[in-house]
């Protein structure tokens, strides 16, 4: 799978919820090769912030070589804050597509579960998957991307404050809506992924988790973003897998989280 580092052009950007930004960029190469569940590295122009920021791919428009990235501004003075100031016509350095992505050839009735800023990759996945899709999304309070997701499946919502859908987390939404599935695809905070892994084990269904870890290179060289694997990994020769390169998507049974 080829990877490219390039200057991409900003097509548009908007804040779709508080601190959640939706950025469309036109890439030279990256979008044509990208698939659901992969990510890109974004670079700031600030010499104080040199490391790339991994951002998941929310939508891919291969014909026009465009990518949609939906990300959270993580605070004042952060790299993501700098990205949020990008405007149409600006340029940004991007590397990608990175990581393995979700498998998209399964046909079983599926849960696509996203929590918080783990929701964006579910949109491209929902577009690419050809099966019955139950899209379960969990928010703290303010919702985003629900209308986009509704085009590709039935959307069930959970909010921590109960302001929309079921009060609670994504698994509360699964239970309260009496849902079931034969396969799970999930991305979100680690406690959510742990609960989903347990749920999948109970139900004895396959489960794909997209993990997050602090990264440096994004291409598998620095060994910063490892997760613990259940078995000795062939590449590392220890019980570690690289989230950026071997992942970010793993079978729940492969990893200890």
């Amino acid at each position: 799978m080829a990877k490219y580092k390039e200057r991409s052009a900003v097509i548009s950007q908007e804040e779709i919820a508080k601190d959640i930004y939706s950025l469309w960029i036109e890439t030279a190469q990256i979008a044509r090769e990208a698939k659901a569940g992969q990510f890109v590295s974004l670079y700031t122009a600030d010499g104080g912030k040199l490391l790339p920021r991994p951002i998941s791919i929310c939508e891919i428009c291969r014909e026009e070589s465009k990518l949609r990235l939906v990300y959270r501004v993580t605070g004042k003075g952060t790299g993501t804050e700098l990205f949020s100031r990008l405007k149409e016509g600006d340029e940004i350095s991007v590397m990608g597509p990175l990581g393995n992505g979700f498998p998209t050839d399964r046909r079983e009735k599926a849960f696509l579960i996203g929590g918080g800023i783990g929701i964006p990759p579910m949109l491209e996945l929902a577009k690419e998957l050809d099966c019955e899709k139950q899209i379960v999304v969990g928010y703290r309070d303010e919702c985003f991307l629900r209308e986009d997701l509704e085009r590709y499946g039935t959307v069930y919502t959970a909010t921590e404050d109960g302001s929309a859908g079921v009060r609670g987390n994504v698994l509360d939404a699964v239970r309260e809506n009496g849902l079931n599935a034969e396969v799970i695809y999930a991305c979100g905070p680690k406690p959510m992924l742990r609960a989903i892994k347990n749920y999948a084990q109970e139900k004895d269904i396959p489960c794909y988790l997209s993990l997050e870890e602090r990264m440096a290179c994004g291409i598998g060289a620095c060994l910063a973003c490892v997760c613990n694997s259940a078995e000795r990994d062939a590449h590392s020769n220890v019980k570690n897998k690289r989230v950026c390169k071997d992942g970010p998507v793993f079978l729940a049974s492969e990893v200890e989280i």
Binding site: L50, N237, V238
Partner: protein
Amino acid sequence: MDLRVNIAGVEWKNPVTVASGTFGSGEEYAEFMDLGRLGAVTTKGVANVPWEGNPTPRVAEIHGGMMNAIGLQNPGIDLFCKRDIPFLRQYDTKIIVNVCGRSVEDYCEVVERLSGEDVDMLEINISCPNVREGGIAFGQDPKAAEDITKAVKKYAGQPVIMKLSPNVTDIAEMARAVEAGGADAVSLINPLTGMKIDIYRRTFALANKTGGVSGPAVKPIAVRMVYQVANAVKLPVIGMGGIASAEDAVEFILAGASAVSVGTANFINPTIAAEIADGIAKYMKSCGFESVAEMTGIVK
């Protein structure tokens, strides 16, 4: 104009290698470029047995650089010899194997094993500040550094580069110690030890508490130490620490380095090391230098 350099009897096609641990064994970078564009590839440190490394988070960004505490995760010398050496041999570049260990015996075991392998040079990491077991004592004490140099030299089948830690009062003293121990070359600097605290979670940014600081932020300290060492010993010096451009590389060479390593910059631009080799050639042409040796250490 000649880009070639001779480091302890080994001829590199250009004076650029990569800092150990920033380049794996080259596989991930081969997706972006021909590794044959580099004078040498320096591998991630390898030990006698596989090491798991530290818990995560293993990296944190700092202003103008990064901090890491990977903990020398490595697949062990057996898999390394079987997989990584043949992989690198496909490319027209020299192979420098970085060696780490928990004891003199560990180091010697790896060095001895490598003496029969098709690699060009060894680099001995006696200074990685991340791992409590990673040899910090050797790298901060002249006597210990001299002793381990002597020990590995007994087993070495290739020229030995001793990699120096910057976390010392007198770097020149350390260089003289490894010279006395029989080192064939020195490389410096390994990262400086740093710490970052997340003030909102009130915890360390790295699971290991401390980590090695690298990137452009440390360059002036590295240039100073390369200058001190180059003026203290006769050994060739491989300079590194924050090199992110050909101009940075030339700065190290003018300070006394015979060759340079590109480190953290590889994480930001995977083809930067090769671009730096090209850029050095351009600089030499524009300034009328005929060879790298001619530039080495001319600023006194």
